[in-house]
Amino acid sequence: MALLKSLSARKDDLSKPANQLKFLNNGIFREGELPTFKDKIAETGNFPLKPKKLEILQLNLGYMCNQVCSHCHVDAGPDRREIMTKETMLQCLEVIKTTGAHTLDLTGGAPEMNPNFRWFVEEASKAGIKDFIVRSNLTIILANKKYHDLPEFFKKYNVHVASSLPFYKREKTDKQRGSGVFDKSIKALQMLNEVGYAQEGTGLKLDLVYNPAGAFLPTNQKELERDFKVALKEDFNIDFNELFAITNLPISRFLEYLIASENYEDYMYALVDAYNPKAVESVMCTNTISISWDGWLYDCDFNQMLELKVNSKVQHISDYNEDLLNDREIRISQHCYGCTAGSGSSCQGSVT
């Protein structure tokens, strides 16, 4: 069920990243029942994990969100106050102007709730980044009158919209994301279609992000995309471009759910059983830098939530140096099995 408050607001032990890491490193992994991620990737000569060419800069504009989804790895919600300041945004803009990365990816929380979001999008769009993604939860577009014109705004700056939609049916979506979320998401997708998103000849890209609504792994991304396309077209006349299937990683609120529902061990077994060495080679931390609301640098958004800063002399946007950063060793723990299961998982979906 969707929740009312974040772990942080509930002062839950799991709101502290150190406690999550402790949990992930103990039990079945400490007892040797399952191999640690480090031992597993060492079997195929992938330890230490090193970056390849930097392709994606992912900026987390803050943990504030209008939703409190039960699986959220950010522990986002209306009660979170962490928001990127204009000063940090200016530092990010300097990096965006010089980076070799071809993709800029804005995420949150709901990035649109950052008071400087529109200014930042306008400024960042001037840098000529090839692919400019905003991760929208969709319902934000209908949450308040001031957000109703977001589809037009996204269109104006040729933003590539990546939207979360866990399923094409109401029940599963609302269970994970909250009552009424499905209907609002459908309306928001129709609004995006109306301004030209996912319509032939416009070049405006609208992708959907699927993640399982429970303690199971996503199936084949292409099969899911086919099912979503048929169902959304038939039931709501909605078009979208691609579907990204993302595995839920066992951290934050999804970890809380796994423990409370007594699914943790089975889920970790499923991740380890589905380990795919090919996915390790193109896992997203090898081509991404994640920047937090307060300017710290991480290997990925998940490491950001676990407060595992990059293992480099350069750890903050104010000291950004791409060459030095690309020479780092990527920090890993058992949660990384989530990105190497099956076809692999990343913010761009499957990796193999």
Binding site: G214, F216, P218, T219, D273
Partner: protein, 111 residues
């Protein structure tokens, strides 16, 4: 506390049957994997058949495995329950159709 005959965690150890007979174990898993590939029937249809059969043969491991497989494939609970009813209908029908044998025998033995 009494120990149950079935332990849900044993499903994780299924692959270990190859340890006591590698040749036959591997042949079984190769065959099993091949059966569930997309073919004239889709993998989704096969998953629903497997779920129905799991109930008919009353295999708790199989029920766990194919409920999860169905969730992963986006199969909905209404579809899963209909599949279980198909299995149940065949099983009850198979019981009931033996009533014809009973009727035949009854008639044969009666004057």
């Amino acid at each position: 506390m009494s120990k149950p005959y079935y332990n849900a965690e044993d499903l994780r150890k299924f692959g270990k049957i190859t340890e006591w007979n590698e040749d036959l174990g591997n042949k079984f898993f190769d065959y099993y994997g091949k059966v569930f590939e997309e073919g004239a029937l889709s993998a989704r249809e096969k998953s629903l058949i497997a779920l129905a059969v799991s109930h008919v043969v009353q295999c708790p491991y199989c029920i766990d495995a194919y409920t999860k497989d169905g969730l992963e494939r986006g199969i909905e609970k209404e579809e899963m329950m209909e599949a279980v009813h198909v299995g149940a209908a065949i099983k009850s029908g198979a019981t009931l159709v033996h009533g014809v044998q009973m009727m035949n025998k009854y008639e044969k033995l009666s004057m």
